[in-house]
Symmetry: C2
Subunit: 422 residues, 2 copies
Amino acid sequence: MALATTETPAAVDFGPASALSCRECGTRYDLGPSFACLECFGPLEIAYEFGRVTREQIAAGPTSVWRYRDLLPVPADVAAKPNLAPGWTKLVKADNLARELGLRSLHIKDDSGNPTHSFKDRVVAIALEAARNFGFHTLSCSSTGNLAGAVTAAAARAGLSACVFIPADLEEAKIVMASVYGGKLVGIEGTYDDVNRFCSELIGDPLGDKWGFVNVNLRPYYAEGSKTLAYEIAEQLGWRLPEQIVIPVASGSQLTKIDKGFRELVKLGLVEDTPVKIFGAQAAGCSPVSTAFKAGHDVVQPVKPNTIAKSLAIGNPADGPYVLDIARRTGGAIEDVDDTEVVDAIRLLARTEGIFGETAGGVTVGVLRKLVAQGALDPDAETVVLNTGDGLKTLDAVAAHARPAAVIRPSLEAFRTAVADA
Amino acid sequence: MALATTETPAAVDFGPASALSCRECGTRYDLGPSFACLECFGPLEIAYEFGRVTREQIAAGPTSVWRYRDLLPVPADVAAKPNLAPGWTKLVKADNLARELGLRSLHIKDDSGNPTHSFKDRVVAIALEAARNFGFHTLSCSSTGNLAGAVTAAAARAGLSACVFIPADLEEAKIVMASVYGGKLVGIEGTYDDVNRFCSELIGDPLGDKWGFVNVNLRPYYAEGSKTLAYEIAEQLGWRLPEQIVIPVASGSQLTKIDKGFRELVKLGLVEDTPVKIFGAQAAGCSPVSTAFKAGHDVVQPVKPNTIAKSLAIGNPADGPYVLDIARRTGGAIEDVDDTEVVDAIRLLARTEGIFGETAGGVTVGVLRKLVAQGALDPDAETVVLNTGDGLKTLDAVAAHARPAAVIRPSLEAFRTAVADA
């Protein structure tokens, strides 16, 4: 296992990042390819020494995550190196959906607009820079599908090798996408958690030497990419924080980093310090964090996933306890919806806003609807919900409901009979 | 048939557009929902009276096609109405692909980043404004798939009804996408050209009353959306024209409007008047324009399409003769590639640049490669190639080539045996 190391890699440049710091005990380490504290095995996070950052400076940057390069562990010239330049996706004012749900103001942060059509392009872009810094020749990951495609695509653009690992039973679109970019795709017989354990073994083996596993030994860097969701939402709202936000929970990393991003913006004086209630969304078939939240527990009991929302099917979520903390601290909640509600929510989002979300988007929109119905969300507060993936990757979820109204001969008569008069 | 009309619709606002003008005989008509000249049956185009437009004014606009609203037949407040805000997709500097092909400077205009992942969102956005102007309640089209999804999604966001028509044998992803947004999808037994003829009949029938067929009675407006590709390419290159560009040819409308867009930029003084060689790309299984070009003909003989590039499978291309004109006038050419070359080119693009293009993208990249090999393209000239759609919609084209390297148990031993030592 690649725990923290005391070796300093030569000539790394991580911009404003100053150290790795243990989230549990605060022990600090040099910036290296390590992810767990030598003292307490807690997860390592990036610590920063930010310079002065202004709204104007950010607005003058590129329309990608690199407009926030001064807030990320990347060198100042990051945008000039070959990369997929993800981010700056649309924040859609969702008046139709708001009306259906009885909300005053709703926005959808639609990350299906990223290069490989999921939010994973954000985190991979940061991990790629770390891999370059550490001289790794191969980019790797354990993945529920979206990440595998994001990693192999990013490696192709950057000229690195890729070897990625997924549960063998994923959706066809995700399998094709993860292999089309020319990297090596390996299917593992087992769940995502099995794949993850396998990757942790591989890191300690000579086979995995000089490999950057974006979500294992590069995890502290990788995870920071999710902060850009917070930055973009705040900037796109006109430099202010939303009052409520609904975020999907798989490992829980995204939710914790969005919280971190909001707090950084406040600290840097880029937004006013207004309260944000943070809500987490899970599928009922893989809801260990939601279960713990409702039971009032601080620890998360692992589960064996069984849901169509495969991109969220992490039964043993590493950041589960932090998600519980954040939901409780901000006055939010963690809720879950079953697969039928997921499909209904995908269709609702498509029908009202013209956005075709992945099953993960069905989970967040489904949970949004449930929270409104429960009265857990304030219908008058400014609300943001995330769609983190693309419906084209999970076609099977809705295929039975998305059929032609009719198939006819090309004649008015046939049309009249089959459709117009129906 | 809805030819030009002398009735002026009440209170329409098309911004800088001043009239409809016959491309053949120049006869002018009021801005209405018509597409063919009463005098000569020639196609109608939008004529403009542009005001002063500056680079600064454009750069200060939104990161969507609406930054060019002063060059389009739309009202000044268009961005404020509910719409998908397509455009401003990435112009990717494709150094890896350039190296493989022996080109000095190559960019890919990647329209898979649009809301429904094809360039069709651009043209539909303009047609939607026309539909609103004319008081239509239903948005419709004949489509090879991408357009159907773009129309139903745009209608959902805008709160209009949708009823769209496709050949019944399209790719599953396009069928699901065209129905998931809640509009009515009708499969037609026949080719795209049969679908198109059917829609022309429907327009004249009371059944189609108050329907805006984006590519029939709204075609003059719709077609203008493709100009935004030219505007964006020029702006993203730093306000200059490329020396060579490779564009897919289906109906031919996109190519003719990119040419129009470049010429407008010159006329408005926004770019220098430098020559652009315009190349058209077709699939061998539907190459009526390429065939006519090579034979030196001015007219295009319709064909019955048979290619995996279904989004380009228009056997009777309305703008074919104009495409021939433009290729000849600019010193370009029209070329075609067979389905095997299409698949190879999709994989080449994915492997080198991390972009997973649709079969249409395989056609343009395949033709680019062929033109370089033929010496028809100057390898030292600045070249742009279009990817107009998304590989996730045409998975079958590459699925046989995009498989896992292995499926293994989660053990180092199994990995070593199956993959690492292979």
